[in-house]
């Protein structure tokens, strides 16, 4: 067994600029900041949601409410997650009825996580709009789901792992791992 090979796609020096750019694009599209809520999908989307909200605050001149969604109980692959799924817990303190949600995840792949997240979200209320923001769109979709805001689009093989890691100070690194 050889160790998996790893390649850094985006370093911690590159991602802040990408996130800042996403924030600018988002801010340009936001017409009703009073209705906007940022929701990160645990676990990978949580830190990105936090960073995005941070970038949006000066642009919008207000701090948007931030929530976290745990989708463990909404997955469609109960038998294949592996022996012990991690349950992080949902933390949506705000009412999301009629809100315009910015749903945030780190990597968009098959689309199943987003499907589960939408289902979970609608058990909490009925948002007016849900936009999807991801740091990396790596292709290979299995469901009709597309990002509204993607930091980068990366060509990948189906069997590669694309991971977003949180480094010191909360900066993100995107790595590619081969089996």
């Amino acid at each position: 067994m050889s160790l998996p090979r790893e390649e850094i796609l985006l370093g911690s020096d590159q991602t802040p600029g990408i996130i800042a750019d996403m924030a600018v694009r988002l801010a340009n599209d936001i017409t009703r900041p009073d209705k906007r809520v940022v929701v990160g999908i645990r676990r990978g989307g949580a830190q990105l949601a936090y960073l995005l909200r941070q970038q949006l605050t000066p642009l919008l001149d207000r701090e948007l409410p931030l929530g976290f969604l745990d989708i463990t109980f909404y997955r469609d692959d109960l038998d294949t997650i592996g022996p012990n799924p991690v349950v992080g817990g949902t933390d949506l303190a705000m009412n999301i009825d009629d809100k315009r949600i910015i749903l945030v995840d780190d990597v968009l792949f098959t689309g199943r996580t987003i499907r589960a997240a939408l289902n979970a979200l609608f058990d909490y209320g009925r948002p007016e709009i849900v936009d999807l923001a991801v740091l990396v769109d790596r292709g290979h979709r299995q469901l009709p789901i597309q990002p509204d805001y993607a930091g980068v689009v990366i060509e990948t093989g189906e069997r590669e792992f694309i991971k977003v890691r949180e480094g010191e100070g909360g900066a993100l690194t995107v790595v590619r791992r081969f089996l």
Binding site: R42, F73, D91, D123
Partner: protein, 334 residues
């Protein structure tokens, strides 16, 4: 509403113990590791949130079949498991088998053979005889949850009790179970709740006492469970931070275990005066249903500052959701 003793780091960190569940069945607290208890409680903590939403349901166990097989009347435990299954979107079927119809003919083995045909994923069993869940585990492929067998074990009650204590650790001035003093009082002999809690709390590191009349303490209890045994409430409650009262079944008078409920309450009932002997912030627990005036005085049972009895009920639902989830989910194919 995060659990104190099990949460480590921020929400995006790996939670310790979350990778430790490997049991096919939940037959008892004996033999569960601290990590396994942690997994259930951590999952239950997450699931509590579901019970406070408008839509109190998650699709997790869609397509799974849970059979509640109850050989004893227990509306509370049965509805708790039923609701737990339904909130996880499982198909839940209730079989209430009257003990008298059992004696008329159908054996447990026949019942099991019938269940087999329904191919359930989980069977929850409550039975008056110790060991009945082991019998099912031996004869069925489904995951078995012991919802109380004879005087043996009642693990989900213990798990919900541990979760309830965990919720109150901070107020007791603690961050972990280690060193916590728990007094389990009353009819310990006939109590599966006491047995499960003795195992579970000891695994968590708590110091457990059994307090009750000598006729109602199991033989060799100190040696088997590693508990302290007290026959009087004064020494048994001294410094206790958790006071867990057990239900006294009135049949015990006929069995010659006790002369009267009057004398029982006089010496072993929990009232204000006795509660004052416990630690200042001590919480009062009871697995229900309570016999007011027999093992516990109403003003203690209803004291919102001390009694956490209704919290136990709420936690019971979350714990049972977590147990069903862990037994159905996660890697059973592998």
């Amino acid at each position: 509403m995060r659990s104190t003793a099990f949460t480590e780091g921020s929400g995006s960190e790996m939670i310790a113990g979350n990778s430790a569940w490997s049991k096919k069945h939940l037959l008892g607290m004996e033999g569960l590791t601290r990590e396994e208890i942690g997994v259930i409680l951590e999952t239950a903590s997450s699931l509590r949130e579901v019970n406070h939403r408008d839509i109190k349901k998650v699709p997790t166990l869609r397509g799974k079949t849970v059979i509640n097989l109850f050989f004893e009347n227990s509306t509370r435990t049965r509805t708790s498991f039923e609701l737990a299954g339904k909130r996880m979107s499982a198909d839940v079927i209730n079989f209430s088998v009257n003990a008298s119809s059992v004696s008329k003919g159908e054996s447990l083995y026949d019942t099991v053979a019938n269940l087999k045909a329904m191919n359930p994923d989980v069977v929850v069993i409550r039975h008056p005889e110790s060991g009945a869940p082991q019998f099912l585990a031996h004869h069925l492929d489904a995951a078995i949850v012991n919802a109380g067998d004879g005087r043996h074990e009642h693990p989900t009650q213990s798990l919900l009790d541990i979760l309830t204590i965990d919720d109150n650790l901070l107020r007791l001035g603690r961050t972990e179970f280690s060193g916590l003093t728990v007094a389990i009082c009353g009819d310990v002999l006939h109590s599966r709740v006491a047995r499960s809690n003795a195992w579970g709390l000891a695994t968590m590191g708590a110091r457990v006492r059994f307090v009750g009349p000598p006729t109602l303490i199991p033989p060799h209890a100190a040696e088997v469970f590693g508990v302290e045994v007290h026959h009087d409430m004064e020494s048994g409650l001294a410094g206790a931070e958790v006071v867990m009262m057990l239900r006294l079944q009135t049949e015990r008078m006929q069995g010659g275990f006790l002369p009267s409920t009057r004398e029982y309450f006089h010496y072993w009932g929990l009232d204000r005066r006795r509660l004052a002997m416990a630690a200042p912030e001590a919480i009062v627990m009871h697995p229900g249903p309570m016999n007011r005036g027999v093992e516990i005085a109403s003003d203690v049972a209803d004291d919102p500052e001390r009694a956490v009895i209704l919290d136990q009920v709420a936690n019971g639902l979350a714990v049972r959701m977590a147990v069903l989830y862990r037994l159905c989910g996660g890697g059973r194919k592998g």
